[in-house]
Symmetry: C2
Subunit: 351 residues, 2 copies
Amino acid sequence: MKTIYLSSKFTVVLIMSTFLVYCTPEPGSQTQENPSPEVSEKVALPSWNDSDSKRQIMDFVTEATNPDGTNFIPVEERIATFDNDGTLWSEQPMYFQLYFAIDRVKAMAADHPEWKEQQPFKAVLENDMAALAEQGEKGLLQIVGATHTGMTTDEFESLVTDWISSAQHPIKNKPFTELIYQPMLELLDYLRANDFKVFIVSGGGIEFMRPWTESVYGIPRDQVVGTSFVTEYDYNDGDPVIKRLAKIDLLDDKGGKPVGINRYIGRRPVFSAGNSDGDLEMLRWTDSNDLNTFKLYVHHTDSVREWAYDRDSHIGRFDKGLDEASEKGWSIVNMEKDWKVVYPYEIMAED
Amino acid sequence: MKTIYLSSKFTVVLIMSTFLVYCTPEPGSQTQENPSPEVSEKVALPSWNDSDSKRQIMDFVTEATNPDGTNFIPVEERIATFDNDGTLWSEQPMYFQLYFAIDRVKAMAADHPEWKEQQPFKAVLENDMAALAEQGEKGLLQIVGATHTGMTTDEFESLVTDWISSAQHPIKNKPFTELIYQPMLELLDYLRANDFKVFIVSGGGIEFMRPWTESVYGIPRDQVVGTSFVTEYDYNDGDPVIKRLAKIDLLDDKGGKPVGINRYIGRRPVFSAGNSDGDLEMLRWTDSNDLNTFKLYVHHTDSVREWAYDRDSHIGRFDKGLDEASEKGWSIVNMEKDWKVVYPYEIMAED
C-alpha cells in the first residue's frame, strides 16, 4: 500500500462526503410538457422551458457573437467550462466514481485475501457503509490509492472503460452514462455551434472521465480538466509506459478549479457552469474576466425526476454559491421548472 | 528571493546549456531554388524541396485520411505534437526565453540596487557571461526564479507580451517571432487541413509561449504544453488572481514530455516532431501508439541560413536521437537540403 500525500484538506472533504449517504426519495416517473423527440441543430435548447435561464443564455450567446455589439467576444476567447458531477450528470446518492472504486475493491479482493479482515476493505466487501465511514479519511484514501494508482495509464483506462460500459446505477438501474442531463447536452451543442470551445473542469478524476467524455458529451480528452495523480515515464521490457503514482497532482475543486483552468486552458473562461460550492471559485474566476461573461448554477430542485438538495447536502452542497449567485444575479437553473426533461432516455421513452 | 525546488536534474542541464555559447558563423544571405511567393492552401508544403522527408510526410497523411486503407487514423486520434525551440523556431546562440530572463533582470535592476554587487545578477548586469557561468546552476535558478515567479499570471503575461513585441535577436536583428521556420508553418497548416489537432510540447515555459503561439503559429493556448511553475489561487483586494510560485510544477523535457502529453492531451500522438535528444522520449511515446505514426527530427545542417549543430552542441544536442532515428527509419529533415527557405521573411524578401 503506497502512501497518499495530501495536497489539500479539500481532498478529504471531497472524498469523505461521498460516503455520507444523502437521504432522498426514490425517483419516479414524470410527465413532460413538451418533449422534443429530435433535437434539431436549428432549434436551440429544445428541452428547456421558456424560462429566465434560457432567455439569459440565448441573450448572452447572441451578444457574444454579434461583432457590432459591445459585448462581442472574439472566437479565441469563447472558452466555456463545465463542472461534471451534478452539472452534466447526476451525483447521488454518491459520486459515481466511488461506485467504480468500490467495484474495484470487490474485483481485486481475490488477489487480496487479507482484505477480508483488514479495514477499510473489509467494510467495502461486506457492504457495510457505516463501518466504512468509521475508517475516516485514512480508510477512504487507502481505497482510492489501491484502486486508482499502482498501474499504468493504459491499464487504468481499460479498467474504466470496462466498468463504465457495464456498471449500472443502483437506484435508477441505468448505465451511469445515461444519467446525463439532456438540457445540458443541448447547451454544449448550442455553445459549440456558436464557436465556443467547451471544457470539463471537474473535481472528478481526469483519467476516470477521459475514456468516455468524447462519446458521451462530445468533449475531447484534451478538453477535460480534473483531479489527477502524479505520473512517471518508464519502460516495461523496453516498451514506454506511464505509471500512476499514489500522490495527488492537482485537486481540481474550489480554488483548484481556477488553477486547473489556468494550467490546462491558459485563459479565463467567458462561460462557466457548476452546481455546488466547489464551483464557486471557478465562477468567480470567470466573473473576473474583462469580457462579458455568463455564470450558471444548476439548482437540484427536482425530487421526482432527479434529486432535490442544496444547502444541507453532503454531496454537492450548494450554500455559499446559492447566496453569492443570488446576490450577484448569476443564472440559477431550476431543474424542476426550467427543464422539460432531465435525462435523454426520457425523450426516447416518449417516442 | 524564493527557493527553487528542483523536480529533476534536467532542469539544471536545460538551463545551464543556454549559457554555453555555441560557436557559429554569422548567417548570411542565400539563394533559393524555387521560393513560393505565396503559400496557397491547395499546394501542400511549398517551401519543401521534393525530398524523401516531404514524400514521407505526404504519404503518411494520405494514408491516415484514407478510410479504406489499413493505416487510416480516426479524426479524434489525429494528435500531432511539436517541440518548439529548434523545431518551430530557432534556439541559437541560446534559448530565446533566456534573453527574456536577462532583459528582465536588467529591467528590474533599478528596484534592486543590491544586484550591482550580488551574483548572479551582477554578471547579467555587466554582460559577463563567463562570470555568470561560474555561478553554476544555483545562480541560473535564481535568475529564473526572480524573473518568472513572484507575480500573478496576468502580470507575467504582460511582461512577456511587451517583451516579445519589442525584443530583437542580437545576431539576426529580427523580432524573435520572425525566426520561425516557414516549412514547419506549412507543415502545421497541412496537418490541420487534414483534421490533425496540433500541440506544442516544449521544454520552454508554458506561460512564456501562450501569449504569442496563437498569432504566430495558429496554435491556441490550451494546445500548448510546456514547463510550468506551481500556481496558487488567491485574492488581491477581493479580485481573484493566480500567483506564480518559485517551484517547478512540470519539467517538460525528456521523460517529462510523455508525462506532459498524458497530462494535457490524454492520448498518444500519431505525429511528433523534435530536433534534439530532449525530444527522444516524446518520439518513442509516439512510436508506441498502436496506430500508424510519424516521427520527425529536424536536423540543423544549415550553417548559412540558420545554424549547423548536432552531436556536440550544448543547446539542442542531437546525438542519441540521431542514432535512434537513423536506426529506426524515422524521418530526419535536412534543413539545408530539404527546405527552400528557412524563415518567412525570406519569402517576403523575394517578392
